[in-house]
């Protein structure tokens, strides 16, 4: 990416000596190590959905490791219906200017131009997300073409490894966004962990059969079996609404948590945000969790997943 190098050079001219600029020619941007490395720095953290710079400031103040810039939180997208697209670039730019933590943003499944725009804006990670209306019903974005890393949703191991094969540097469970019902996130996390456990002790021949069954590259299946975890960072998402929900997902093996509508649809967002951050750091201590969960106001109202009509289910978008 030529423009990134130019951008750095311009910044440097006022800052440093001439001979140091020569060093830049050897810089390697957007490598797998750098993309996956960025995701690793998010581990043990909470990433919060925000729609305004003011919300982004509240999230940063509470201790979020990153914010996800959106036009509307998933609960409102669900309510509004219609076509959900990438957020207004002006809002994203304002959020980028407001906080020092990384800013992520969502692009529609398959909409590589939205992703390019987000990259050009300086977004730190793109979420190719089923929460938005898909732009392509056959292909996800070829994420290897980008300097910016991607996170993608998955319901099972096959889906996770297919996304990785397309270049995703981070996976999150799909759950069912905008519901405040954590049950689908639990289901997807347990499904992925169970499939990984089942690979233990398998021969290469058996793993080849599994790879065919789950429609994933055999090399990634083998790597997953050896590591006994997904080879990239794996967060929980889709329905996390309380400190207890966040702690539950950590107990199930998530590396961290995305909270969408759960913060700014809560009665007192500031308190809910701090409590969820602390819950992720204390997920294995029920006494501390009890203390954290007191006096923080009501969580988002939410809707039970069973009552959602099939055509309004978000997790079946993508494949």
């Amino acid at each position: 990416m030529v423009y990134t190098r130019i951008a750095i050079k311009i910044k440097l001219q006022g800052l440093c000596y001439k001979d140091d600029v020569m060093e830049l020619e050897k810089l390697r941007h957007g490598t797998e190590l750098i993309k996956r490395g960025f995701a690793k720095m998010q581990k043990g953290g909470v990433i919060m959905d925000v729609t305004t710079p003011e919300q982004a400031r509240i999230a940063e103040e509470a201790g979020a490791v990153a914010v996800m810039a959106l036009q509307a939180v998933p609960a409102d997208i669900r309510k509004a219906g219609g076509v959900a697209r990438m957020a207004d670039p002006q809002i994203i730019a304002d959020i980028i200017d407001t906080v020092t933590i990384p800013v992520m943003a969502k692009a529609r499944i398959g909409h590589f131009v939205e992703a390019e725009i987000l990259q050009a804006l300086g977004v730190d990670m793109v979420d190719e997300s089923e929460v938005l209306t898909p732009a392509d019903h056959k292909y996800h974005i070829d994420k290897t073409n980008f300097t910016v890393p991607f996170v993608c949703g998955a319901r099972n191991l096959g889906e996770a490894l297919r996304r990785m094969n397309e270049g995703a540097a981070m996976i999150r469970t799909k759950g069912e966004a905008g519901t405040g019902d954590v049950s689908e996130a639990v289901k997807h996390m347990k499904q992925i962990q169970g499939e990984i456990r089942a690979l233990k002790g398998m021969t290469r021949e058996e793993m080849t059969r599994i790879a065919r069954e789950i429609e994933a590259p055999v090399e990634l299946v083998v790597e997953t079996a050896q590591m006994q975890r997904l080879p990239v960072v794996n967060f929980a998402a889709g329905g996390v609404a309380t400190p207890a929900d966040a702690a539950l997902m950590m107990r199930l093996g998530a590396d961290g948590v995305f909270v969408g509508s759960g913060i700014f649809k809560a009665e007192i967002p500031e308190k809910m945000a701090v409590a969820i951050v602390e819950a992720v750091n204390n997920y294995d201590n029920p006494e501390v969790l009890a203390k954290i969960s007191k006096g923080i106001g009501a969580g988002m109202k939410g809707i039970s997943v069973d009552t959602i009509p099939q055509d309004q289910v978000l997790q079946t978008r993508g494949w």
Partner: protein, 197 residues
Amino acid sequence: MLIGVIAIQGDVSEHVDALVRALEERGQSADIVTIKHKGIVLDCDALILPGGESTTLGRLLIREGIADEIRQMHLLGKPILGTCAGLILLAKEGDEQVRKTHQHLLGIMDTKVNRNAFGRQRESFETGLELTFLNSPYNAVFIRAPGIVGCGEDVTILAKMDGMVVAAEQGNILALAFHPELTFDTRVHQYFLDKLF
């Protein structure tokens, strides 16, 4: 020997794995403990502050009461390694970005830091870096990396990049703007362990 790794947030397991590899290579052993709460830091003989988000780490270090323990540990002269976010937290002074978020700094190293000195994620890079204590370049991974833009007399510069200091030490404290824990080359962790053994 007990080596602590602050485990509030960030790439903790990568540091633990890198320590295990480095210890194996030198044929020495030590126990490694990951630390989320107060009451453990002062039992450690050495401490690592991993990479992560410095704003988050700083807030939780205070809330959990670990920050003061790290300052005490420093007064005892024990080795402390900070990578990326760790380098920021060790510093005495931050740039405007650090100040506007009311970032909590440990202030145990006489340095001034720029939080995202090398830009956003799309500008993150890896490159062969010359470190004064190594005889060949080290593949250094910089992720939204900070840089040291000013240091006191007691600080020794170990590497520079684009006019900024990206590796420095002050007594037994070692601060790095890059992530040696993300590569398999253990030479930087070895240099740190030399302070302990």
